[in-house]
Amino acid sequence: MASKKLKRLDLVFKDEQDTEAILKKTFSRPESDIINDLISSGLKGRGGAGFPTGLKWKLTADTKGDEKYVICNADEGEPGTFKDREILSKVPHKVLAGMAVCGRVIGSRKGFIYLRGEYKFLIPDLEREIERFHQLLEKLGCGFRVEIFTGSGAYICGEESALFESMEGKRGEPRNKPPFPVTHGYNGKPTVINNVETLAHTYSIFKYGPEKFRDLGVQDSRGSKVFSVSGDTPVPGIYELEFGMTLQKFVDDFGDGDTKAVQVGGASGFCVPRKKFEKTIIGYQGKLTGESLPTGGSMMIFNSSRSMYNVLHNYLDFFVEESCGQCTPCRVGTQQLLLGIEAVKKGEKPSSYLDKLLELAESMRITAKCGLGQSVANSFASIVENFKEEMIY
């Protein structure tokens, strides 16, 4: 049994059935107050990129447009992440309320939940919930409506611009940025796209005010975060924890006593070896002591029985398959990295070849068109550099 050293929080999953009161109260406030609350709460996007949510809503509110959209990103494809599924099954009303308030603030009447195809089994319950929610909105005189749009098995569609393309009937290929969704999103219209968890957090902020949220966490990383914990742990599952813990504290609670590394943020995140647990802090990149790591919440724990070569091989295989193939650095780069580590392992290439591969990964970070290709270097470099012997022998 894990010792309970880290405080478990219950903001997101607390089953609060007071949507009507919250919405009534929030709808009656000026839009600028709502935005200011979100900004001062310090809430940042929980989908991985960490953009300040209040600012995103404000930018979209400030953009003129005859039509605007609110989109909930429920594509959750990052390996090791499963918290959005849980949020949508346990507290969907919080996510819907967040969407409706966003609609009010930015001037949108239409919301979509982009649900990954792997979660189609959630649809019947979710539709019932949406139906109930629409009745409530009607009662409150609000014309906002939500629809589910289902994906079809493509990790890249979690990237916001690829998601819009997908909804427009195209291949899920990311667009150039700028322009950003706040001015040119779905249908080329101003769009707020937020992660499931981000929207669920807005509910707590509307309900309790920004202070309670702000009091949690650390500078630059406010509030609680829902973590998906898997791998070599006696207690895999979903946990809501405060931002700002060291990885050591996390491992003390969730490891199996033999943890050699933790992958923070999924295949596109970073691998942290044991010797760096103490000075690694879980939060968004900011002015924290030591290294801090942003995370969509995926925490994969590896004990000393695991081959980090196999881990990296699995990630690269994932990227090769999920690259949309649109730009050369990523399409060719992911394949070359995979072939490259295989060649070194088999002794067909000298170990110095790993340095060439590291250069390739770094150049992908600069030249790839979207976050997928850009972040391959995160796991590649952090695994190769920290576990070089395992790559060779």
């Binding site: 390996p79 792997e118 009937g169 994969m300 699995n314």
Partner: protein, 159 residues
């Protein structure tokens, strides 16, 4: 031919005669026919007044949109890291041996197709798989046999 025409017409009636309806229409075809034939793609292009190349491009992009005939039940086993650590290879071996097919193939009776897929969002309960839309988690070889047996019983109540 008429059947395909009729099906596409109905789906377009439901999801709209524009590009925005394309993905839901293609998903609807897979739900009904298990895969999207070339004939169906051409029909969708005609119905939405877009190029067949666009329909083909979209249809082939998404891993869940099958464009070749598949079994009535598509089994997708997660091969991503957390499930790999929890023994997805044993699960695949069991499936292959019970179904007597290899990964990627379809059984002779057309009942099952076997695929690998990436993370299903069930990592804390690996190994995991999807059978059509239904997820199964914390799999063991015994559990896999039971799941296949239950499906067969449902399909052939007599046996």
């Amino acid at each position: 031919m008429e059947d395909v025409k009729q099906m596409v017409k109905e789906l377009a009636g439901k999801y709209g005669h524009s590009e925005k309806g394309l993905l839901p229409i293609l998903q609807g075809i897979v739900d009904k026919e298990r895969y999207i034939s070339e004939e169906a793609m051409v029909e969708v292009a005609r119905e939405l007044d877009i190029s067949a190349a666009q329909v083909f491009g979209t249809a082939t992009f998404y891993s869940f949109l099958e464009t070749k005939p598949t079994g009535k039940y598509v089994i997708r086993v997660c091969k991503t890291i957390s499930c790999m650590m929890k023994g997805k290879n044993d699960i695949i071996r069991e499936l292959e041996s019970v179904l007597r097919i290899h990964m990627g193939e379809t059984t002779h009776d057309g009942l099952f197709s076997l695929r690998e897929t990436n993370c299903l969002g069930q990592c804390h309960k690996g190994p995991a798989m999807l059978v059509n839309d239904t997820p199964y988690a914390e799999l063991t070889p015994e559990k896999v046999r039971q799941i296949l047996c239950d499906i067969r019983k449902k399909e052939f109540p007599g046996n």
